[in-house]
Point group: C2
Chain length 218, copies 2
């Protein structure tokens, strides 16, 4: 019994994972370069095997996206014993992880692929990325926000709005510009400012939702 990694009910053998890695590499290297022939050649396997394992091109694509997306795990933040300082650090950590993931080649590629897919009534990939992207973030951030609320460090009517505001403050127009291929946004360019951006976004979030804020949404 070979070691397998379980991803949402789907298990992949190491060999299969090598294939998925090849597929992902091809995607990142060259967005439309994911032809079955190219994957087979890159992974040194036969097309027949690809079809046997993944059904069809769509299945391979889905498996690739799903497998990779699930690998993006953001560190869980310690929720217990929430001091003001700890909360702030947690939020900053979150912002940093979020930004780092979003500007990565893999994320850009996966989002582009899923969006392309969604443009054809096949929203399967879109839903996967959605679930592992924005929704995943939301799921992890929400308890922290509510812990902050319970600790009287944050004030908001519902955590949904608070999460979405935080998302907006952190991501701003970076993601859409990257997806559209804005050449003025080099990765190194963003990385250089990432700490400043993280701090700014967190400051702004606390200005809006921190208990000491005079202005607060109702």
């Amino acid at each position: 019994m070979p070691l397998t990694i379980k991803v949402n009910e789907e298990t992949f053998t190491p060999r299969q994972q090598a294939v998925l890695t090849a597929a992902l590499d091809l995607l990142v290297e060259n967005g439309d370069g994911l032809t079955m022939t190219a994957v087979a050649r890159r992974a040194s396997c036969s097309k027949e095997t690809l079809y046997k394992w993944f059904g069809d091109r769509d299945g391979l694509l889905t498996a690739t996206v799903q497998w990779q997306a699930a690998k993006v795990r953001m560190p869980q933040v310690d929720r217990s014993h929430l001091s003001a300082k700890a909360l702030r650090l947690s939020m900053e950590q979150f912002a940093r992880d979020l930004l780092t993931v979003i500007i990565g080649d893999v994320s850009v590629t996966l989002n582009r692929t899923a969006i392309t897919h969604a443009a054809q009534e096949k929203d399967r990939l879109g839903l996967i990325v959605l679930e592992n992207g924005p929704m995943g973030i939301r799921r992890r951030l929400k308890p922290i926000l509510e812990a902050g609320k319970d600790a009287r460090l944050l004030r908001f009517a519902n955590s949904e709005d608070a999460y979405r505001t935080f998302f907006g403050l952190v991501v701003r127009d970076v993601q859409i510009r990257l997806l559209l291929g804005d050449s003025t946004l080099t990765q190194s360019n963003i990385e250089a400012n990432i700490e400043a951006d993280v701090k700014a976004a967190t400051d702004q979030f606390f200005a809006l939702y921190g208990v000491e804020a005079t202005h607060n949404r109702e």
Copy 2:
């Protein structure tokens, strides 16, 4: 590479605009449905004419996106004599227009198309959408922000950050979710909340950058 985007009414004849309309309709109806044959049939013209007018498929796509994107004109806001109330109304108007455009079928389709295109090293469409989307917004919003600053109604170090924060506060995760095909975000669903969202975003923006804000980014 001087990417000049100039779409005058004289650039395309009415007949050509009819063709572009057909192409856009096909795009919106069915993202990948833009085949040359389909456009020709829909517009009741010959493929040869399409190639004569637009060069190749890419040219047709570019013309379509360019033509439509340039049609999205947000109202210029009167900048002179800027009262606090006028500024706020301007910002709200901006937020409303921005949200309205972004959740529209056409915008979603165009962004998806451009992103798909950008996934293939051909960032031409991406740049066009970028220019008419985020960058266009930035160009129109910036003078208003600076007028607000001059009138001592807003306070910020540079208008770039202020614009991007506003963008984030307004758009949040709506655009990426729509692009990914999030089925829980129906258009009517968003439209129902659009006024509340607009007000919330504007409130938050003024809380962060208004002169009366106690917390302000440095």
